[in-house]
Amino acid sequence: MRLTQTMMRSIIEGLLYLTGEEGLMIHQIQRVLPDCTEQEIKRTIEKMKKEYEENEGSGLMIVDLPGGYRLTTKAFMATYAEKFAAIPKSAPLSQASLETVAIIAYKQPISRIAIEEVRGVKSEKALQTLMAKGLIKEVGRAGGTGRAILYGVTPVFLDYFGLKSLDDLPPLLEAERPASEQLDAFDLFYDKYKETVKDL
């Protein structure tokens, strides 16, 4: 018996609920609904996404994962969600860790020395933090003496930054772009960043 669109929607919603933060993979849905094509599943979920988004009476939404989807609360819910002590509020990454993981994401595989050359400062502690958080991992060894450890980002990295794949990373500004244009784009960022550190 073929499933109706409505039935399919309700089953997927139920599974999204059950899997929670783990996320629901498309291949898992296919195992549960073997009669549905990947196309149908994707189309249904895209429709659901839109419905959740447009329904102001709903506090939920569906976000993309690599190979699947996850049901989450909408962003406006953050303040209400945080009032629940059970939800641990994760601290954002330090600036050092953020810069380090950005360099790794764009230049992987890359050694500690190469990272430090770009940043101009020791980056050992940042690497340790990122390893501990599972955002990066050893992906191999460089040739030559010392056989330095090479680092790369993990699937946890994608999830942490809400990226579906590495292709979602914003393109790096080309160093070749005209100086003025490049500077403006940068200054916008920079001003925002420095606004918070004007004390002393």
Binding site: Y17, T72, A78, Q95, L98, I103, F161, G162, L173
Partner: protein, 262 residues
């Protein structure tokens, strides 16, 4: 110039330089070395007066800038000899290198800011922990998938990492007692162990301590004992455990026997 920003707000000398370039409205593609050097030094000086701990990286950059500035004040050496003076670093090249470094760092710093936006957005989304599905699980033998399996190498790797972790936790300095471990004494030790056990022992069970000297001496002792026919070693097949047992008549030997006088 007023210093409104703490040095803590910077991720190192490159970040500080970018800040100065911006506040002084300097063209990053044409950095006036003298000016930026003075400003940089002023900033560092101020920080030191405030008794802030200025990381060594900042001081290294200060030295680089000062060197660059002073070379720029010197006249270029005239090339009289055919051989160029290797010790002379062209300050223009140094300036170019610094500019490239700043541009490169700035690209990643910007990328990091982009990721910060992603991070903030992602941190605002919450999900429930996955439900316990055990009530839906049919009892039966555990199903273990074929794909994505850990291999035996993953397992050994995990153990190696664990051992390394333990190793790293150990104090760096340990007392090194220079000791002489006579082979004869170790031969007697091996025989005593076998006697006490009353049955054959696995080869590795005879290595009671893990220091190198002990392992080497024990190994030599075993070879010596085999040569003297005090013990025999048995191995069922390649790479199987080696079992060590006493030969007949060895039970009577005591520590004062000449055989152990090494």
């Amino acid at each position: 110039m007023e210093y409104k920003v703490k040095i803590d707000a910077f991720e190192g000398p490159l970040d500080l330089l970018l800040h100065l370039i911006k506040t002084l409205e300097i063209d990053i593609y044409d950095i006036p070395v003298a000016e930026i050097t003075d400003q940089y030094l002023d900033f560092i000086h101020e920080m030191r007066q405030l008794e802030l701990d200025v990381a060594s990286e900042y001081l290294v950059m200060a030295a680089t800038l000062v060197a660059m500035k002073s070379r720029m004040l010197l006249p270029k050496p005239e090339i009289l000899d055919a051989e160029p003076d290797d010790s002379f670093e062209d300050p223009e090249e140094t300036r170019e290198a610094l500019m490239q470094q700043l541009l490169d760092y700035r690209r990643y710093k910007e990328a990091a800011e982009g990721l910060r936006v992603n991070e903030q957005a992602r941190l605002a989304l919450f999900s429930k922990p996955p439900s316990d599905l055990s009530r839906y699980e049919k009892t039966g033998p555990a199903i273990i998938p074929g794909e994505g399996r850990a291999t035996v190498y993953d397992m050994v790797r995990a153990l190696q990492q664990l051992m390394l972790r333990k190793k790293l936790k150990e104090p760096l300095h340990t007392k090194i007692a220079k000791q002489v471990l006579p082979i004869g004494q170790q031969m007697y030790q091996v025989i005593s162990e076998l006697k006490r056990a009353g049955h054959p022992l696995r080869f590795d069970e005879l290595f009671l301590y893990s220091d190198k000297t002990h392992i080497v001496v024990t190994f030599l002792a075993l070879l010596e004992l085999m040569k003297k026919n005090f013990i025999s070693c048995r191995q069922e097949e390649n790479f199987a455990d080696i079992w060590v047992s006493l030969e007949e008549g060895v039970h009577e030997i005591d520590a004062n026997d000449d055989a152990f006088n090494y």
